[in-house]
């Protein structure tokens, strides 16, 4: 949202006409893009800033991480199977409530972090298998969790973003058409209601189960599932956007600038593209954040139920699902994928919260 458009939007409602004294006072300020005001308001929301920070971190982690941590996610290091993550070293030592325990902790913890392999073999009492070769541990075949988290994150985030774009496209299309053209309003809104009344998760499961093999043979094992999951999530989550956009368009249609544009003979499609769409942008952006969160959770849920991507093609949900089979031997394996899914969704939700406040001109500048 910081990459502001080149010129201020022609029809923005940010400068109220009746506020003459305020205009006078602000006349000495250099002209400023309205998106800077949005950013100023956004900055005051601590959660939103955290969310933006974590989301950027997650993007860097999954897309640039593999350039630094170059271990192949498919490489099987069978000697390292079921390795614990390096943070297990923080749990060594005796009891937490005795001086002896703390002394042991200060003796063992640096040793463990310094030379994990030697420490693991020398102190079998802790039952640890740690190694700097696999900082986040390895799975039951010895594949490195850190690189699998990166590759898995690429898929999860890509699914989230693509499905969100698809849902936004459908939602905006239906919303604008229904709001602008009265003839199709009733029909499109009944369609929206029908989609809202569908049992979505069962249907998603059924569709994916049934059409998986066809698409797999058409687009290859990973591409087929990717197309299927993105399309299915996109097609089942556009309804909220459509409703919000329709409401906004209905209100905008009565405004004077739309009347002015129409009176000089602007054709409907250009009126929609130039005057209506830029003004519903704020609600679309808020539903975009909700859409990413929803898509990431749905994809993980599908993978978790074993109906998502194949197991040699990791996603965060799939990693979590695979880890649940090893709960008793290696319970901490569930933490990393679960933590990343949760934090990404949390950050995206916070960004949405902050955006909603920042884009609301009634709250902004207060």
């Amino acid at each position: 949202m910081t990459d502001a458009p080149k010129q201020p939007l022609a029809t923005s409602g940010a400068t109220p006409a009746g506020a003459a004294p305020v205009m006078e006072m602000e006349a000495y300020r250099p002209p400023r893009n309205q998106w800077w005001d949005v950013w100023d308001q956004f900055k005051t929301h601590k959660g939103a800033l955290f969310g933006l920070g974590f989301f950027i971190f997650a993007l860097l982690f999954v897309y640039l991480g593999p350039l630094i941590w170059t271990l192949d996610s498919q490489y099987i290091d069978i000697r390292a199977r079921n390795t614990n993550h390096i943070f297990s070293c923080l749990g060594v030592g005796g009891g937490w409530f005795s001086a002896q325990g703390w002394a042991d902790w200060f003796r063992d913890m640096p040793a463990c972090l310094g030379d994990p392999e030697a420490f693991s073999t020398a102190n079998p009492i802790y039952g640890l298998r740690v190694s700097w070769a696999h900082p986040l541990g390895a799975d039951q075949l010895g594949r490195d969790t850190l690189s699998r988290m990166m590759v898995g994150g690429q898929t999860s985030i890509a699914v989230g973003l693509t499905a969100m774009l698809l849902a936004l496209f459908f939602g905006t299309l239906v919303g604008v058409l229904a709001g602008y053209f009265r003839k199709v309003d009733g029909l499109l809104m009944r369609l929206t209601d029908l989609f809202l009344a569908m049992p979505l998760l069962p249907l998603l499961l059924v569709i994916i189960m049934l059409f998986r093999d066809v698409l797999r043979s058409a687009f290859g094992p990973e591409g087929g599932i990717f197309v299927l999951i993105v399309v299915v999530i996109g097609l089942t989550s556009w309804m909220q956007t459509a409703r919000v956009v329709r409401g906004d368009v209905l209100a905008l249609k009565e405004r004077e600038f739309v009347l002015a544009a129409r009176s000089i003979g602007t054709p409907p499609w250009r009126l929609i593209l130039r005057h209506v769409l830029p003004n519903v942008m704020s609600s679309i952006m808020v539903s975009a954040t909700l859409g990413i969160a929803n898509a990431i959770i749905t994809e993980s849920a599908l993978s978790f139920l074993g109906l998502g991507f194949p197991s040699d093609f990791p996603t965060w949900g799939r990693l979590l699902f695979d880890a649940t089979d090893w709960l008793t031997q290696n319970p901490e394996r569930v933490i990393w994928p679960g933590l990343f899914i949760s934090l990404t969704v949390l950050s995206v939700n916070y960004i949405g919260d902050g955006l909603r406040d920042a884009l609301d001109p009634r709250i902004r500048g207060r």
Binding site: P199, V206, A301, V334, S342
Partner: protein, 372 residues
Amino acid sequence: MLTFTIRRLILAIPTLLFISFIIFLIVKLSPSDPTAGLPLTIPPEVREQIRESLGVNDPVFVQYFKWLKLMMWDEPLHLIWVEDGWLYRFEDYLYAREICPHPPHLTQLERTDLFPDGDYNSCIFDEYGPRIISYQTRSPVMELILQRMPQTLWVVGTSYIVGILIALPLGIISAYRQYSWFDQLGTFVSMIGFSVPTFFTGVLFIVIFAVNLGWFPSVYDTTLEVTDWETFKQQFRQMIMPVMVLGLFNASQISRYMRASMLDNLNQDYVRTARAKGLSESVVVLVHVLRNSMIPVVTVIALNVPAVFGGAIITEQVFKVNGIGQLLIIAIQAGDVPVVQTVSFIFAVLIVLFNLLADILYGVLDPRIRYD
């Protein structure tokens, strides 16, 4: 109000017909074959006969109307039997009148065990109308659903009530003391509960409370019957984790609505008037503000009930509760078309009914809203 309700009920019929048709089409148009799971040694002509007997080769519309008649007409007849002003479950009635040779609550296997040479199937399948039969178990789908219903209702229902009981006070206090530390903490916790998916909280709870601490069992034992204090304690212990996981998720959603709705009302003029009249603070908040704030919250609670059933699919999978969600997953994996269709359709009916209920509740609770 009555005309509105009746109109909505009539409108619900085409909606449900359309949804049922879509569910039917998705399942039917898919390239799956109900005989795909059978052994490869079955010769092709026998395979074709099996397909024929399942009715797979009929035109799609014929199949749809057959299924619709089964779903709308025959199945309700099997569930309800009216005689002398009393409602019976049909099979109970048959057994009570000694028309059927076996108690109705037995499963198919138990019937075969107890009555090895008895005519154990006839009075269900043949003489009293057809039923929707599962491909997997060869027993009526409705029986399967009725077997699974109590577990789902117990776990999901309790979790929803727990969620509401947590959410309401949380939302009220958060709104009344806006920007206090309690509010900050409450909003933060509800944001987390809203964002962390149930399949992670569930697994995390299992890791902490079942694997590390060993307090609760990680698998829900459905065969447990509550007969005395000991088994009650066992049932309580195995229900805690699934109920808390679902309950926290529901609570975080509802408390956000409760807080927003309370905040909307706390600044209204009537609140100032009530305070100016000298009413005590508790009366102002708990009687005047709360009653008005509950209007949207109650409808949200009603609207979310079907979503809770859908969300329970995952929680049931995590804690191995063999409820309706797990029935659906197993049926999907086995290509059991009748079960998938029926369960999805029941979900759709739930959604439409609760939408209607929410609309009616809104009208009943808020006298300013009149639909006529």
